[in-house]
């Protein structure tokens, strides 16, 4: 199949290569002969290791995407970002409150947001990045957590932001505060933990552990299935 495919031109870090049409940027790099170690990770769009900037032929716009998810076009010029320089403030979640003051202290740059929306345009996950930064400024931490949920921390937003906000770290803190403090606690989980503490299931587990295989097999195939 490979031989029959149409080849197109791409510029990888400035060098011209011919690669099969339909390749992702990552496939193109490997086809050209690069064995990747930076700018590569899960290869399925979940880890954010392969943030890449590119320009398409005849287009002045600098675009961002994940190398493993973006298909190359003829004449595309590509540069991978090996690392996003950013200083993450350290904190003890136990000492924080889920409100705007926490962000004033740890991420003062958030309040420099000029609402230009460049971050949103740069996001390969189509997250409304500016909206969650604005939600934080309004003190709506849970909203910011919700909007930013699918963030994979590729860093393309932070690379483009004129206010020099490190959005993905801000979002991580918003989600952690929400998970720990703003989500309602699960009553059944706490009850189960008390039961475990009291050893409620110890005997039955012990019984299963000591059961001969034939009896255990029977028990398994006869077990009641209650799923919805």
């Amino acid at each position: 199949m490979e031989e029959k495919r149409k080849m197109i031109k791409v510029y990888l870090a400035g060098e011209l290569f011919k690669v099969p049409e339909g390749s992702t940027i990552m496939m193109a790099l490997e086809y050209a002969g690069f064995q990747l170690k930076r700018g590569v990770g899960c290869r399925e769009g979940y880890c954010g290791a392969c943030g890449t900037v590119y320009r398409e032929k005849g287009d002045y716009k600098l675009q961002g995407g994940l190398a493993c998810q973006t298909v190359v076009t003829d004449g595309m010029a590509v540069a991978q970002i090996p690392f996003v320089p950013a200083e993450k403030p350290t904190y003890d979640l136990e000492d924080l409150t889920p409100d705007v003051n926490t962000f004033t202290e740890l991420f003062p740059s958030v309040f420099r947001c000029v609402s230009c929306n460049t971050c949103t345009k740069a996001c390969p996950q189509d997250i409304e990045v500016m909206d969650y930064i604005q939600a934080i400024i309004r003190g709506d931490i849970a909203k910011a957590a919700d909007i930013s949920f699918d963030c994979i921390r590729c860093g393309l937003c932070a690379m483009r932001c004129p206010a020099e906000i490190v959005q993905y770290d801000v979002a991580t803190l918003a989600r952690r505060l929400t998970g720990k403090y703003l989500s309602k606690k699960s009553p059944e989980l706490d009850k189960r933990l008390e039961e475990m503490e009291a050893g409620k299931f110890d005997e039955e587990i012990k019984k299963l552990k000591n059961m001969p295989k034939d009896k255990l097999t029977k028990e398994y195939y006869n077990r009641e299935i209650k799923i919805s």
Binding site: G33, Q35, V71, L173, G179, S183, L193, I205
Partner: protein, 556 residues
């Protein structure tokens, strides 16, 4: 978008949808009879890749000598170490620490957090970036029996039955009994679990589960957990030393046979570092990138079984390395995402697998090996759909989800899946997904006990590179649980060993030379070295002209 001939087959799926919807409304998930013990055995024997005659071969050296294991694993085991011991000056260590954690997925991160909690010096080394791992990619969920109608006893039975009763009982007990507290621990760290309005957990079923106990963070469950653990490790920068882009290549022992540290290789600098440690935790993940039987894989770029190789050379025992997990639903179309995971949660939400004629042919939530075998059967008996590049698959009827549970269900519960296919102009709310089994998980691994200890004093293993927890088949949602439970246990026990005052003897890499001699006796080609470190996807015609062309595995 699908080509016309595939759209024709989709018409068949649409034709039977109304009938199948009625079935689901009437019987819930039980739209097809689950297989009996005999039926399971039969379908595995005929169709599961592990059961093919040429899947396994005898391993000729090391602790498991004489055992038949997966071909591709034998290949990396019967390979030369990257360097003889004389390369390294063991009187001059680059780093010294109490607990060394190798691998920074969720198992390694959990272990690191627990060890550092005990105020021992902790060092974390990882081959790529912090958090780069299969953990980050998990979609569907994490199991824990915390619901009123459920109990760890039900969970135990599901795990051991799903694993064909080969699981180590103590490990299953640890897994299910630690599950509720693991969820609590994660929530306290700020993981945002999916909840109902009253705060109760939103739980789903998975293949082989007898209750709804799948907790999730949308369909980014692995990321939802892993990115929190990574952030927390970074917060403790004053207590934890981190080395990125450092691949461990050998374990160092002492003259008493205890663990004493590791050799790591910096991928950018091409420089070796020697690290001395009183306890070592291996959390290096699985082997998907060995592409067993040439299968595509859902796995991370770094999943090359390095930990297995290092520990085996140092004398640790392997368990169930004759067993591979093929996830039933890997994407086969479009070509750019072939092999990618389509989470089991899609079936958990009600999507049904159907063949090219639109017929339902299996209970949608069998354990993974059974479900995968049924998919392979359909394709081998010409009831699958062929893609333009020659692959075959069956339909996973995702539009059914919204007909069952209302519009918006997919966007809310499967945002990653929706996005993945939308990038290639396929709307999974309207069109089914074409899937085929993909190499997903290493069921076996290095044998551990419930303290995550191996047979080598001071060497702990947690997560996918361990063996015994899941027997010969893991259920969905139990690996996310495994990495937290055994990651934490490994971290605590490794730190305790230090606090108990373990004394190290003279460090040595003699075992590496001894192993190399045995490899040489087998007459293996000198260019075959391991651990592999990273796979190589450069096309043959270019590789043939590269300087390192004669080597297998990554040299850099």
């Amino acid at each position: 978008m699908y080509p016309d001939y595939m759209l024709k087959s989709i018409k068949n799926v649409e034709k039977t949808r109304a009938k199948r919807l009625q079935l689901a409304k009437k019987y819930g998930k039980q739209v097809y009879d689950p297989m009996s013990e005999e039926e399971r055995e039969k379908i595995l024997n005929i169709y599961h890749p592990d059961y093919k005659e040429d899947a396994l071969r005898e391993l000729r050296i090391g602790p498991n000598k004489g055992e038949k294991i997966i071909n591709e694993v034998v290949d990396v085991m019967e390979a030369y170490p990257r360097n003889p011991s004389k390369t390294f000056d063991l009187s001059n260590f680059d780093y010294e620490t109490d607990v060394l954690v190798i691998g920074a997925g969720s198992a390694g991160l959990s272990a690191t957090l627990e060890a550092s909690q005990k105020d021992v010096n902790t060092m974390l080394v990882t081959k790529l970036r912090l958090g780069d791992s299969n953990s980050m990619m998990a979609q569907g969920g994490i199991q824990a029996a915390d619901q009123e109608d459920d109990s760890p006893v039900n969970h135990y039975l599901d795990v051991i039955g799903g694993g064909h009763f080969d699981n180590k009982k103590d490990l299953v007990e640890a897994l299910v009994m630690d599950a509720p507290q693991s969820i609590k621990w994660l929530e306290e760290l700020g993981v945002m679990f999916d909840k109902n309005e009253d705060g109760s957990m939103m739980v789903k079923s998975g293949g082989g589960t007898s209750r709804n106990r799948m907790h999730s963070t949308r369909d980014y469950t692995g990321a939802g957990i892993c990115r929190v653990l990574r952030d927390e490790v970074q917060n403790r920068a004053d207590k934890i030393d981190i080395l990125e882009y450092c691949a461990a290549t050998e374990l160092i022992l002492d003259d008493k046979g205890q663990i004493a540290g590791a050799v790591v290789y910096h991928l950018d600098l091409k420089e070796y570092f020697l690290i001395k440690a009183k306890s070592v935790i291996l959390a290096t993940g699985g082997f998907g990138r060995l592409h067993i039987r040439d299968f595509e894989t859902t796995n991370h770029y770094g999943a090359t079984a390095d930990g297995l190789v290092m520990a085996y050379r140092a004398g640790a025992n392997l368990l169930y390395m004759d067993s591979v997990q093929y996830h039933p639903t890997g994407a086969v179309f479009p070509e750019q995402i072939v092999g990618f995971l389509c989470t089991e949660k899609i079936r958990g939400l009600g999507a049904q697998p159907v063949n090219k004629d639109g017929e339902l042919f299996v209970y949608p939530l069998e354990p993974r090996d059974i479900e995968a075998s049924a998919f392979i059967r359909e394709c081998e008996e010409d009831r699958g759909v062929k893609t333009p590049s020659g692959l075959k698959g069956i339909w996973l009827d995702s539009p059914l989800i919204e007909q069952l549970s209302g519009e918006g269900t997919i966007e809310k519960n499967l945002p990653a899946m929706l996005r993945q296919f939308q990038r290639f102009d396929i709307d999974i709310r309207k069109y089914p997904m074409l899937v085929f089994p993909t190499l997903h998980y290493q069921n076996g691994g290095l044998e551990i006990n419930a303290k995550a200890e191996t047979s080598i004093p001071g060497l702990y293993v947690a997560g996918e590179n361990s063996g015994g927890v899941h027997g010969r088949n893991r259920l969905m949602g139990n690996s996310q649980l495994d990495i937290i439970v055994f990651g934490r246990r490994a971290g605590t026990n490794a730190a305790n060993r230090v606090l108990d005052g373990v004394k190290l003897g003279k460090p040595t890499l003699e075992h590496v030379d001894k192993y190399a001699k045995q490899v040489e006796k087998l007459g293996i080609d000198k260019n075959i070295i391991s651990p592999m470190i990273l796979p190589d996807y450069i096309p043959e015609h270019i590789k043939a002209k590269q300087l390192t062309t004669n080597y297998q595995g990554t040299l850099f």
